[in-house]
């Protein structure tokens, strides 16, 4: 359980922070911003799925709530964009706690849990597509107001740094969880819930807390999406696309690791771009690749890229230790 230290996180963030300084291309900046957004959403999933072992197929429920709450508060009630963002985050956390309370109390686990989260996301999507407050089918358009006070910016760079800051916060949070007693409980629940219960871990409480934190992080992603794209509707907010992205990134990058979602998001997005380059305008081909990658990763690299790297390190170490005379050559 020796994850990276805070110093590592700072290093990685510092490196990423230089991107807007190294390029003036908005194409590149946009690419990274979206990748970081997925990394954030994926990190949320990772808390519950990676560390807690509860695979959710409906993380869109939190993403969408964060987005809609923020959008509705801004456009219907004139709330300041930053405050709306914070409230969106809180809203998402609340939904997480509610769904968690319901499902964990009923003792749902494994596949049942995955399915019920999917169902919740769908219910929210349908409600959002008919309710007047969400603009129903029309969705909500945020008025263009390129001022920092309105959480909008003329240039792309401030958006980038904000999402980077959010990702940094999520990395630190996960790091702290990893090293804490709560983290130990969470992993115990993942490894063997009955045994954990037997040794006195309050598994229901632990799972609920993990769900709430997970939801909050993902909801922050939703709030950011709204500020960046200035438009939200029920399909974007609660659709399966974001639920899939949320789980794909951490699984590919390394489930249950601090950097997993970040690595995974960058790799998956790059893969998407490569596919577009190679396959041209083939409809749906990039999604075929996503599905294929998911299957391959589960088959060959269940611990994701981080896991592969750890494997390499172990093999490298073994190789070195098998030739002791040469080691100090």
């Amino acid at each position: 359980m020796r994850g990276p230290s805070i110093a590592h996180i700072v290093l990685v963030i510092a490196v990423l922070a230089t991107v807007p300084l190294l390029t003036t291309s908005n194409v590149v900046l946009n690419f990274f911003t979206v990748a970081l957004l997925i990394a954030l959403v994926g990190q949320g999933w990772n808390v519950l799925g990676g560390y807690g072992g509860q695979y959710s197929f409906g993380h869109a429920a939190f993403f969408g709530t964060g987005a809609y709450v923020s959008a509705i508060l801004q456009m219907r009630y004139g709330v300041n964009a930053w405050i709306a963002f914070a409230l969106g985050l809180a809203g998402g956390a609340l939904v997480g706690a509610a769904i968690g309370a319901l499902t964990f109390r009923s003792g749902l686990k494994g596949s049942y849990f995955a399915l019920v989260t999917l169902a919740f996301a769908e219910v929210l999507r349908i409600l959002a597509s008919v309710a007047p407050i969400t603009g129903a089918g029309v969705g909500i358009l945020i008025t263009l107001d390129l001022r920092p006070q309105a959480f909008q910016f003329q240039s792309r760079a401030p958006f980038y740094w904000i999402i980077l800051a959010l990702v940094a916060a999520s990395l630190v949070i996960v790091r702290l969880i990893e090293r804490s007693r709560f983290g130990a409980w969470l992993v115990a629940v993942r490894e063997n819930e009955d045994a954990a219960q037997a040794v006195g871990v309050d598994t229901a409480r632990v799972k609920l807390a993990a769900m709430t934190i997970s939801a909050a992080i993902t909801a922050a992603g939703g709030g950011f999406y709204v500020q960046y794209f200035l438009f939200i509707d029920s399909g974007i907010a609660y659709g399966p696309w974001i639920s899939i992205e949320a789980l794909l990134a951490p699984i590919v990058g390394g489930i249950g690791t601090v950097f997993g979602p970040l690595i995974g998001a960058l790799v998956v997005k790059t893969l998407g771009e490569l596919t577009k380059l190679i396959a041209g305008d083939a409809p749906g081909l990039d999604l075929v690749i996503y599905g294929g990658v998911l299957v391959l990763i589960v088959a060959f690299a269940p611990y994701g890229i981080a896991g592969l790297l750890a494997d390499l390190r172990v093999r490298f170490a073994r190789l070195r230790s098998s030739v002791p005379e040469r080691a100090h050559g």
Binding site: G53, Y55, F57, L102, T103, S106, L108, G110, S111, Y112, A114, L115, V116, L118, A119, F120, E122, V123, I126, L127, S129, V130, P240, I244, L247, I251, A282, P283, G284, L285, L287, V288, Y290, G291, G292, V293, L294, V295, L296, V298, A299, P302
Partner: protein, 205 residues
């Protein structure tokens, strides 16, 4: 209150659709009951089968009912291959992994169909057949709802559940409107999972 003139046909429609649902759910419950696999790719395979039947008609002039006779063993083989060469090895038995692998498969199959055949509908001028790639996702959740409602592994459960859900869907659509009505199935799903996960006729887990 809606008059019987609408209510009765709506219920009949629901039963009709429900029977189809039941059949679909049957496949799913068989898989789960025996292998303990939740097959997320069920809907995608259904769509693939529909396309197969469509093209059997288009190219070979085969009536869909006849095509079913041919396609059943064909898809049996496909299913076997998928399990033997893809799902089994990839998942190594763990429930969670199976879910992910079949999810991945579902995405792959559906989008390959999208890529190969485009997004528009294909219609068979016989009765009602209607192919849209999107259908796969919709059917998956409905099929799961039925399986869970009827009880995982119970064949009778799947059929009864199918009819029940078909009627629920039809009536919800009638009373709540087609858009909101879709919610009926998912709410039903959540309620069953929360309060009676073993379903009506399933065995205690």
């Amino acid at each position: 209150m809606l008059s019987p003139v609408i209510l009765v046909p709506a219920i009949l429609n629901g039963l009709l659709t429900g029977a189809v649902y039941g059949l679909i759910a049957l496949g799913l419950t068989l898989i789960y009951g025996v292998l303990h696999i939740i097959n997320f790719a069920h809907g995608a395979l259904l769509t693939a089968a529909m396309f197969a039947a469509f093209f059997a008609h288009r190219w070979l002039g085969l009536d869909p009912y006849l095509a079913a006779i041919v396609l059943t063993p064909l898809f049996f083989v496909l299913g076997y291959c998928l399990q033997r060469f893809v799902i089994g090895p990839a998942a190594r038995g763990e429930d969670r992994n199976i879910l992910l692998v079949t999810l991945g498969l579902a995405v792959v199959i559906e989008n390959m169909l999208l890529y190969a055949f485009g997004a528009d509908t294909r219609t068979l001028n016989l009765d009602y057949a209607f192919n849209v790639v999107d259908l796969g996702i919709a059917f998956v959740l409905i099929a799961f709802t039925i399986v869970v409602l009827g009880g995982m592994g119970s064949v009778t459960g799947a059929l009864v559940g199918g009819l029940f859900i078909g009627v629920v869907e039809s009536l919800c659509g009638l009373y709540l409107g087609e858009s909101l009505g879709q919610i009926g199935i998912f709410v039903m799903f959540i309620l069953v999972l929360l309060f009676r996960p073993r379903g009506l006729l399933g065995e205690r887990a």
